[in-house]
């Protein structure tokens, strides 16, 4: 356990080597080269403790939760609820404010469909606060991942609400100069990312949350990129809902998290319905359990909650402040290195302040997929394409990009290897200097 002072200096070479050794996949060879994994922003690799936790669950405890009279079922239920508590603690909220979902996308859709159902009159009187009237406004931003954009487009289309957006600057940050203009008193939802998965920009949330609440809108935070890479205290941020994914924070695939302020979860109508989220079911009608169960229909991803618990504990043990500082240094190294390669343009801020280590860039004259393919031949894994964020790409004048993203086990050497390989890409394709 690091003290805060130690954390502020990152992990240190020795601790980093120890952390890296926890990730078995990083010893893999790809195309005859050592794997250099710089695609953490798409999905993280898993430390052994996470893989083991899930495996142990299947080997010793597996059972349906919240249902059985038998010992396995009780142990499984305890593990399931303990996971909720550990994840809640990592992001500064209460246990019963955490709803398990299959990924962050599902978490955001849950809120959008909950509002939809409230608009259709479901959920009784308490749910009326969510009901939309035609002309009500849903605000998103030009930086959003499709996961925090398309569900709101669809909600608007279903309800007659109007979609508005906060534009991005040339630097790939939100242009908050127009905040008050875009977030009017017709705004009911402000859906905003905590950090862009393209430009890495960390959002200055305080003014947005203040404005949203001043006009009576709820704030839905996309915390997919922030939770794995920096300290996040959702209560302190004062957002109303937040979504993040297990697989990006060292956890298993197949699990995501929705945070909801307690009274909002209580008032929001259920979305997915079925077993384990009801009280009384007749052929005609059904009454629902309290949150979080109300939103967790059917058999849950129990083994994955146990894996995610181990991941959250792993991060908490390292200390998120230390993780953030560690990655900040690597991000600066990456930005400096890219700045030194001719004909490479970074999409997003050029310094690592208020910026995460997801670094997308354009190589003049070479398509991102071709860039990625050449890097892959050297064992370097980066992401290519629009990263599920077409609007910000369009805004920055490109259709797609190559993206290198750092994670908890990234080393300075990884970045050197990447920069070296990248420097040769244009020559490979015979693009003139």
């Amino acid at each position: 356990m690091s003290t805060t002072a130690e954390q502020a200096t990152g992990l240190g070479a020795q601790e980093l080597a120890r952390v890296r050794a926890d990730f078995p996949i990083l010893t893999r060879q790809v195309n005859g080269k050592d794997l250099v994994y710089l695609d953490w922003g798409a999905t993280s690799q898993k430390p052994e403790c996470v893989i083991d936790a899930e495996q142990d669950f299947y080997l010793t405890t597996n059972a349906a939760v919240h249902r059985g009279a038998h010992a396995l079922a009780e142990e499984a239920t305890a593990a399931f609820e303990d996971a909720r508590a550990v994840v809640a603690r990592l992001v500064g909220v209460d246990d019963d404010e955490i709803v398990w979902t299959s990924n962050a996308t599902a978490a955001i859709n849950l809120v959008a469909y909950g509002i939809s159902n409230a608009t259709a009159g479901r959920g009784g009187a308490e749910a009326a606060r969510f009901a939309l009237a035609p002309g009500d406004e849903l605000v998103v931003t030009e930086l959003e991942h499709h996961a925090n954009l398309v569900p709101w487009q669809e909600l608007a289309a279903r309800t007659g609400a109007v979609l508005r957006f906060i534009p991005a600057t040339d630097e790939g940050r939100l242009d908050l100069s127009v905040l008050d203009e875009v977030v009017t008193d017709r705004a009911r939802v402000v859906a905003v990312t905590h950090a862009s998965n393209v430009t890495g920009a960390v959002t200055d949330l305080a003014p947005i949350v203040a404005r949203a609440h001043a006009v009576g809108a709820i704030v839905v935070l996309d915390a997919c990129q922030s939770v794995p890479n920096m300290p996040v205290d959702l209560h302190a941020l004062d957002v109303d809902f937040a979504a993040f994914s297990g697989h990006k924070m060292l956890g298993p695939t197949g699990i995501g998290v929705l945070y909801g302020r307690r009274e909002l979860l209580a008032a929001l109508p259920p979305v997915t319905t079925g077993g384990s989220m009801v009280e009384i079911v007749t052929m005609e009608t059904t009454t629902y359990a309290a949150p979080p169960q109300k939103f967790e229909a059917g058999t849950q991803m129990v083994a994955q909650t146990v894996g995610l618990r181990a991941a959250a504990q792993f991060l908490d043990d390292l200390g998120m402040a230390g993780v953030a500082e560690q990655e900040r240094v690597l991000t600066q190294q990456l930005l400096d290195g890219l700045a030194a390669i001719p004909h490479v343009r970074v999409l997003g801020p050029l310094t690592a302040t208020d910026r995460l280590g997801v670094v997308a860039f354009e190589v003049a004259g070479v398509h991102p997929h071709d860039v990625g393919q050449v890097l892959d031949a050297d064992g370097i894994a980066v992401r290519v394409g629009h990263h599920c964020a077409q609007p910000i790409h369009r805004r920055l004048g490109v259709a797609s990009s190559t993206r290198a993203s750092v994670g908890i086990a990234t080393t300075p050497q990884d970045i050197e290897t990447f920069l070296h390989a990248l420097a040769g890409v244009r020559a490979y394709f015979g693009v003139e200097d």
Binding site: H66, E74, E279, T287, A289
Partner: protein
């Protein structure tokens, strides 16, 4: 005592068979009466509890004059309701609140005793100490107490007529 016997102590089995307070009481329109319907979502079992308060003779907190309940449930939930009936009838609502708090504490204590003094106050209820070692059964034991709290609150809102 085996694991299982810690749950099913004889006094609990007895209460589950010979249940006190089963059957709803009549409440005339004039009384401070309250009724609560509670469901245990895990199992779908239900209880309806109806009670009548009376103004305190000495101007203090109202007194729980009578209660009755009916429902479907396991031996633990029924024994708990039976024991609860014995415990609270005739006490004032402040005392009842204290007992409820003691009982909730007992259920949160993982099977460890709360000490003689508090457990003595719970009378037969202390025999439910073992339930706290069976997390899936805690809701069974608390179901009646939840109904009691809810019905009391309703009776107090209506107030004496």
């Amino acid at each position: 005592m085996s694991h299982l016997e810690q749950l099913y102590q004889q006094v609990i089995l007895d209460h589950a068979r010979e249940r006190h307070g089963e059957g709803l009481i009549e409440v005339d329109g004039a009384a401070m009466a309250g009724e609560s319907f509670q469901v245990n979502p895990t199992c779908g079992d239900e209880v309806t509890l109806r009670l009548r308060l009376a103004p305190s003779p000495d101007g203090g907190a109202p007194v729980l004059e009578d209660l009755g309940w009916e429902g479907v449930g396991c031996s633990i939930s029924r024994a708990s309701l039976s024991i609860l009936t014995d415990l609270v009838v005739g006490k004032d609502v402040r005392e009842v609140d204290g007992l409820a708090e003691d009982f909730r504490a007992l259920m949160g204590n993982r099977g460890v005793s709360l000490g003689d003094e508090r457990e003595d106050r719970l009378e037969d209820g202390a025999a439910l100490v073992g339930v706290a070692k069976f997390p899936a059964r805690i809701k069974c034991a608390l179901l009646g107490w939840m109904a009691l709290r809810d019905a009391t609150a309703k009776a107090l809102v209506i107030g004496p007529s």
